[in-house]
């Protein structure tokens, strides 16, 4: 694509930077910008540009004119706008990107004396807005935003100005190059298409499965507002034409409860083209989405607060762009804004763009099977997990009690205990408590599991088995149960009995023991199950990805 740029100041250095990526024409000398755009036979038009950047420096535009003289200023600006308008009219096939003005206040005045720089910027902007309205092929190039965000001291260089009439610093030129590149890409329609969003600690603070509707952070004021503001920006992106999809490890009912009923939820169910809310591997969900939405993996951008999930997607699906997540979540809104500029930038939204989500949602209902090439096993091994297990110690009592009170999802029997209860178990001959922690390449996850066993002759009973949702999906439970089998066998037990008592939140472990090869010996109408495992045979473990360390 051929492009061109003109200016009333020296932009040779900037143009050379742009030249590395785009075929750009810019005129020799810089006082000639008016001639170049007015003259239909100019070399500029001979180069057949599709886009033309008109980058004007406010101070230079008004050199020799007193800012106090409203008439003179008006005349000068109107003349410039007039030239631009005739060019825009004469070349409807070229997209014009005309800059707003930044005028540095230089002269020193007392506070009382009126200043005119901002007023003049406003006069120019008003005229430009008029052109923007009247002409489809003119767009305002927002240099002012770049300057405001980096600051004039960073953006401009007095040294370069005095040396060579170059207004912008190195940093300024790089920012301009990036922004101009965005406009060019937007003109070509080059952008990402779909934004994939996690739910917990991304759309709201906290974990819905653990904290419930009352416990999650999502509000108009104070801390919860950081997520509401984030959602507002995401909604605006969707309104422009970006497709949204949810990829979250959750129970569908829990997630929908928030999406449909939370008073501060900005995004609604209809805003999403698809919702992959389940306990499957995220990379698998994304691969399925690509198939269902009929989009290339390289048109996806993935947002997730969990570095394990981000890395997993990065390694399984390298074509998917994984967004960096801010360490400080007060920057959530900024994340959305930056992503929109970098990946979902629109010069204008057509009616069609606005209806995209609707269209994609309908298409997605024709789902097809897709073979997954994701190597989940490889990923799990690469975590280099170390699972430590030990018999409960005095210093673990508080945490052990807390875990029984707080854990809801991976909790087979949901029995809540106090510190005293735990102490009583320790003192009793009948009970054993095992505690486990997991360390992986990302760090130490701390104590993540607790098992309370009751001894009844040659049968051991699993009173409590719980695990932190942080380490779910990694088959750590398989290894812990395997350890228990071996330990019980050593101690002379022949049978191991376990239970599942259903609650609103522990669906994820409904079929855990079936999966581990246990026999269901009892089941009632409410879904309560009793299982048994014969410890006298050989004991195997199908999924072993972490190293067990028994203390």
């Amino acid at each position: 694509m051929n492009v061109a740029a003109v200016s009333n100041i020296n932009i040779e250095s900037l143009a050379k930077r742009i030249k590395k990526e785009h075929d750009i024409y810019f005129p020799e000398g810089f006082g000639v910008w008016v001639q170049e755009i007015i003259n239909p036979g100019s070399s500029l038009y001979a180069s057949s540009p599709e886009c033309l950047v008109v980058l004007l420096d406010g101070e230079e535009l008004l050199r020799g004119i007193s800012y106090e003289s409203a008439e003179d200023v008006q005349q000068e600006l109107a003349a410039a706008i007039g030239h631009i308008e005739s060019a825009v009219q004469a070349h409807a096939d070229i997209s014009f990107f005309v800059s707003n003005l930044d005028i540095q206040p230089r002269d020193i005045k007392s506070v009382k004396e009126p200043r005119y720089e901002r007023l003049i910027e406003g006069i120019w902007l008003e005229m430009l807005n008029g052109l923007n309205d009247r002409h489809e092929n003119l767009y305002i190039f927002d240099i002012k935003r770049l300057i405001e965000e980096s600051g004039r001291r960073e953006f401009y260089s007095p040294k370069l100005w005095y040396l060579g009439g170059m207004r912008y610093s190195l940093k300024g030129e790089k920012l301009l190059k990036k922004e101009i590149g965005r406009y060019f890409n937007a003109h070509k329609g080059v952008r990402k298409k779909c934004l994939l969003l996690d739910l917990d600690n991304t759309m709201w603070g906290g974990i819905i499965g653990e904290d419930g509707m009352e416990g999650i952070q999502l509000s108009e004021q104070k801390e919860g507002a950081r997520y509401k503001d984030f959602q507002r920006r995401i909604k605006e992106m969707k309104d422009q034409g970006t497709i949204l999809a949810i990829v979250s490890k959750n129970n569908m009912e829990d997630a929908l409860e928030v999406i449909e009923n939370h008073p501060h939820m900005v995004l609604k169910k209809e805003d999403f083209a698809a919702m992959k809310i389940n306990w499957n591997l995220k990379a698998q969900n994304i691969a399925d989405l690509a198939e269902e939405l009929n989009l290339g993996l390289d048109s996806f951008v993935f947002i997730d607060d969990n570095p394990v999930e981000r890395d997993s997607v990065k390694s399984e699906l390298p074509q998917v762009q994984v967004a960096d997540f801010p360490e400080d979540t007060s920057e959530m809104e900024l994340l959305a804004t930056e992503l929109s500029f970098d990946n979902f930038f629109y010069l204008k939204s057509s009616e069609e763009d606005k209806k995209k989500t609707e269209m994609y949602r309908q298409n997605a209902e024709r789902a097809t099977d897709m073979k997954s090439s994701a190597s989940f096993e490889g990923f799990l091994k690469s975590l280099n997990s170390t699972i430590r297990v030990w018999s409960i110690k005095e210093q673990d009592i508080l945490r052990a009690a807390q875990l029984t009170q707080k854990t809801n999802q991976f909790n087979l029997t949901t029995k809540r205990y106090t510190e005293k209860d735990i102490q009583d178990f320790i003192n009793s001959e009948e009970y054993d408590i095992y505690i486990s922690s997991v360390e992986d390449k990302y760090g130490d996850n701390g104590i993540i599991s607790e098992l309370i066993l009751k001894k009844e002759g040659t049968t051991a009973v699993l009173d409590t088995f719980l695990m932190s949702c942080r380490v779910m999906g990694r088959f750590v439970e398989d290894q812990l149960i395997h350890f228990i089998h071996n330990r019980l066998k050593e101690e002379g037990f022949t049978k191991f009995r376990t239970h599942f008592y259903p609650t609103k939140k522990n669906k994820p472990v409904k079929d855990l023991f079936e999966r581990l090869g246990y026999t269901v010996i009892e089941e009632d109408g409410d879904g309560n199950k009793t299982y048994e495992m014969d410890l006298t045979g050989t004991i195997t473990c199908e999924h072993e990805y972490g190293e067990m360390v028994i203390d």
Partner: protein, 72 residues
Amino acid sequence: MERLIKLAAETLDIDEKELTLESAAEELEEWDSVAHINMVSEVEEEFGVTIPIDDITKITKVKDFLKYIEGK
């Protein structure tokens, strides 16, 4: 040292092997006034130093940048 040579080579758009600390502006076609100003900017940014405007014309060889990088 190598960083400086690499930077100069990138800015002037020539091969690193053709540059040494002794390379001078008057010998190299690519080292025109625009490139000179660019090199000043790039050195300032890369090494986090400031080169006063009055000194800029005194820089005639690659090695002249060194005293700003080392001395400060």
